[in-house]
Chain length 413, copies 4
């Protein structure tokens, strides 16, 4: 058996949209002359984005958005390619990780493709002069958009940023299905237990939480949702989930998965109420959703009964089992290889298109957070459907006329 | 057994939100002095909206939005109440139905609560002078909003209209769950067959289509979705449905349900390809989604093998079975008693609130179509959760601070 | 439009298996010379069984197994055919119903096809001399088999009875899917409320209960299951339902559906704990699963707020709403037209085959309850798959050899 | 952080049934004096069975039933305990694995607890004198029971064997849910792709196949089932899956999972029809379900693009991706840690009880394959429900009387 495949070989097959963009752009090289700085979870699928940007002519500088999820072989392979420079390596400490991001920024990229608003926040906060030279950015996560919105409110943003996150394609494809399925799969593998028959508490009923809850139910779990927003709470109720406050949910949950975008969703008062053996996982961007400091303070002792699981023994002898150190369980669980390939493909393709659109069309946008134009989102969906060989119907002329005619002549009433 | 309950007795139990509004407003009577014209499917649940408007002090004039779904006992009961006048009766012809709407409009209401934009279109088209005096309106269906948007584009709207339809509450509650479940239930009852095991083709993957497709799958159907919009097509695919063009779907479907908002979605070329015994139903507002003229022309003969079913025999001897004359199957099927009560409760409560807000707060809105203010939608959700005795979590001060601080100090990275 | 279809016209299209049996047997008439007595819910689909028996040459005497579910037009149409005699009419009192069954039995049929063991129990109990002459019987319900087993234990059975009920085809097809879906559909239509978002309590997790619970979950309900058998309780738990005792379930249920085969599953102590507005329905054979006497004694007053619903007002003012008088909600609900056609088709085809097999093959079986031979069940499945145009795979010779060779030579280990 | 937990520490928390048996039996030691030989997938959860047998007094000799799934740390830990001897180590070759099984058998155990009928077949085939001395056995897999049935048909079985596999607890708990979920989870992790949106072909609709298909659908896949048995095919159809022959399925599947118990279910003619990128996985006991020799012969070249995946390139350039070498993907996938803990807990508890019952009750059973007594299965379910804190209802005296009285006096009809 020959095993000479390069580390992107598998991922390329599952990133048909990026590949089709690369195939279309590698002659013309529209991004030639631009330097693009990129931070994301750095594994094979992200590697395909780096590669596609380079194929389109860009000089690419890449780092990680999270230190634990880096795959060394991918980094090495990319760094060996012309026009690509790595600012990350596997097994970095938090300090080294921080330092690497600064190094990348000091190379003065023209454009930033970001995850969690890592680079965008850092360049404004600590390299304000460099920020002023940047032409634009793209951000792909809900958590990052929240951050960018706060920056916009504070009036500090120096360049236009496309919100890749807030598109139908991102929400319904990546958040609902990508995070939804991979969070559960990683909980199941990390703990070697089943989702079926468990009471799964999902904190937050945004797109990610909706996906997690729906698929947990699809596997046979009893699902509980906690929310702060009444419309989302009601939606969860109508979707067949029990909606409880966290103090109520804490008492009955077997598995807790947070996906809220905020901090301390599960905290001391909830730890105190939980059952022996409760599993705690986070599927939100930052490791703040479960109050880790509060958990450490509360616990009498800590052990690691299994890779990827930290067991906190409470004063009254219960075990609370934290998965993946409270970091994104779907990306940093011991068996995780990053977000599923065909999911991240479309999100990354949208990141590519965001860069291409902002850099090469003459938009003349001032600083601020901008929705990605709907036509780009729609084109991406068309491109994806093509790779799936799915046909849609065409709108007929009569249907166009019907939609435009509010008198609806010809209808029965 | 005593059977003295009035015809709204059952519906009142299943409209807790309307009842809570009535209880809150019937002392103060904020709508006193206003005349409200209302058109909707006129059965017991709608009757509760009429009653609640009257309790809040309004003079109410009501008609139907569709002639087949009127319940005579409800109309009679309401018409007997002070401050309420009926412009509809059971079993009206289309001409009488049209005439009744004109009579209502000629009474010069101050406000119109509408379904399908029936009254709003008619008053602009045929009573322009009356239209100029109207203070505002509310519209509750997707089809009606499409019509109102066309009117706005044409610059003909004379007063502000609240789009009750375009709210999270309406989409996720009424369209997905109300139409979704009741369309299937009525197909099942009308045909005396099961959804399980059938190939169900859902045309259109908007909120209604999504609900129909999801619940058909939940019952055990093989679902097929047809779409014209690529993002929706992709969403359907990711939700586990087969996405096909209508020509492909026509060949394999057992049950077809349209929910597109446009006309001729199923037409001659599709009828020609269908299997013997195919069932055709419509869940969109107007009876134009299945090309009924085309079907009649194509058929060699027509019979009625069962109440609510018209059987078209094709030239090659196949039977195509049209349900409920191609009108809204969930509202006009032979066993239908209108949209499910607790669903229409929240939609109608929002209609009530739209009237109250536009009439009694000093908005000074010019003519145009307006989104219902988000705070009203949120309040409605809170009111509904209260009736369900469901608790949500409160946002903590630390969480507020976290959302506002884009530097995210205190987080691990 | 011509509407000359006979009352079986629709049902014939949805009973392809019976039609294929009729087509195969109507030349040869293998049942000529035999008189078959039949009791079942007497609507159009059952009419197709009567017709098919007659096509195969039998003299058919039919009555109902339940007085409320009889359709007069079907009875009349059949009674007008040669070789068929009706012993039932629409709107019979319980006394008339009982009398009609006796009249049928007094005609001394050779064979009984039964539902709930109505005729079989009655002929043994009240016409013992006639019972001695009967050649055999077939029974199609779980409740009827329980009764026949008790008769066998008591040593009173006088002839062989085929248990049509206890076959894979019956359990997985009719009970899970037929009863499962139609019970929910009829609850939804009878109450004009949705299943979605409700807490649905299913009493009994046999094949029927499993279907009801699964489909309620599929529509978006929160499901609760009560059981007495630990394996079934555990199965329900693993299938994602909450398993509670009835006292616990009584406090939280919105809709209760019984499918246990026994009596008083919901009784005084449970009525006392229920929420205002609780809906009570039965999907088991007899109207004993909900303790109706206990409910009537407990209630302060009774009314009928809606067709098919009896409202019991409790001493503390709560409303408990009984559907379809506690009789089979899927068969006797106001909108019901009997079990779904294509479901009952296979069950009735099995009844047909049971009669044919016992009467025309020389089995020489003594009195007793017999499983229907597996080959007949398998043939029925093959016949049904053929009508659905579904292909299965063939077993290869190598696979046969593999299954027979316990040494598994050629396998890797 | 202290990390001193032994390698069974995590598994003990998720094997509450085994722990409760151990707690009950470790004083009395009913198995003292007996030597039990055990073969199974040897990881932490199986280790808990070994430990529980030892706690009950048995001398335990253990080996693996499959060479790839052995965890060295567990083997070492157990081997260090008194009364336990390992005949297996991590990383054995097939030849060493075979040799180790012989060594175990040569120690002349009194009882065999088996998986796949490994030890039972081998002792009869190659150590007939030892087989004659053995008091009994227990077998836990469908594949093993097929083998034992063949041995019984051939008249070679020398001792009684309890079929632990053929119990409600095993089928509904272990096969449907354990294999169902873990097969999908391991496919997802091994390939880093999602199940959602894929066309998943499940070969075989036994208990395992049913679980895989149901949960794949629950995650959002389009499911296809292939079968040879018409009742199972029809059941799959009614459960909402497309039923196709394998030649039809081969053309459209994205992921193929076999669970048939037989060989060559996917073979040359199917490989030729598959789409580029098809994923092939096996969830049946032996690695014969996918014709691996046929695949190797057909392929032009072979590579390993990712751990756990073998990529076969066909003559026309398509890639067919074999997972886990065609061995049980849920047990031998690269991220697998064996069957989920709480699932195998009940199966292993039943194995324990089988040994205890056959060895310590005076059954006087001759050689043959025996169903495990229903009371043992029931007790196991009760024990499991107790660990879950789930209450069932009690049968009332009136209900007992009702079931026994076929005349059903007191019922309405």
């Amino acid at each position: 058996m020959s095993t000479t495949d390069d580390p992107l070989s598998w991922a390329r097959e599952y990133t048909p949209v990026l590949q089709s963009l690369g195939d279309e752009y590698d002659d013309e090289e529209p991004l030639a002359g631009y330097t693009i700085g990129l931070a994301t979870h750095m594994e094979a699928v992200s590697g395909c984005l780096v590669e596609t940007l380079a194929r389109a002519g860009a000089e690419v500088l890449f780092t990680a958005s999270e230190p634990q999820s880096t795959h060394g072989d991918v980094v090495q392979y990319l760094d060996d390619q012309p026009g690509i420079t790595a600012f990350v390596r596997e097994g970095m400490s938090d300090a080294e990780f921080d330092e690497a991001q600064h190094e990348l920024l000091e190379r003065e990229p023209d454009f930033l493709l970001d995850d969690g608003c890592e680079l965008i926040a850092k360049v404004h906060d600590e390299h304000p002069e460099i920020a002023k030279q940047i032409l634009g950015g793209g951000e792909q996560t809900t958590a990052g958009i929240t951050r960018a919105e706060a920056m916009e409110r504070d009036g500090v943003l120096e360049f236009p940023v496309y919100s890749v996150n807030d598109t139908p394609m991102k929400h319904f494809f990546d958040n609902v299905h990508g995070t939804g399925e991979s969070a559960l799969v990683n909980v199941s593998i990390t703990t070697n237990t089943v989702i079926t028959g468990q009471t799964v508490v999902v904190a937050g009923y945004g797109y990610c939480g909706r996906g997690i809850a729906r698929k947990a139910r699809g596997l046979g779990a009893q699902t509980v949702v906690t929310e702060v927003e009444p419309r989302k709470a009601l939606q969860a109720h109508m979707d067949g989930h029990r909606v409880l406050s966290m103090p109520e949910a804490a008492e009955i949950g077997d598995i807790f998965i947070t996906s809220t975008g905020t901090r301390d969703v599960i905290r001391r008062e909830h730890f105190e109420a939980m059952q022996d053996g409760a599993q705690l996982a986070n599927a939100g961007h930052f490791d703040v959703e479960i109050d880790l400091d509060g958990l450490a303070e509360y616990a009498e002792s800590v052990s690691e009964p299994r890779e990827g699981i930290t067991r906190y023994t409470t004063p009254d002898g219960r075990h609370l089992n934290l998965l993946a150190d409270g970091r994104l369980v779907n990306l940093t669980g011991p068996a995780s290889d990053g977000h599923p390939a065909e999911i991240i493909d479309t999100t990354h393709a949208m990141m590519f298109v965001a860069a291409d659109d902002l850099l090469t069309r003459d938009h003349d946008l001032g600083p601020g957070l901008y929705a990605i134009p709907d036509r780009l989102d729609r084109q991406m969906a068309e491109r994806k459907l093509e790779t799936l060989d799915i046909d849609t119907d065409a709108v007929t002329e009569k249907q166009v006329a019907y939609a435009e005619d509010w008198r609806n002549e010809g209808s029965a009433f």
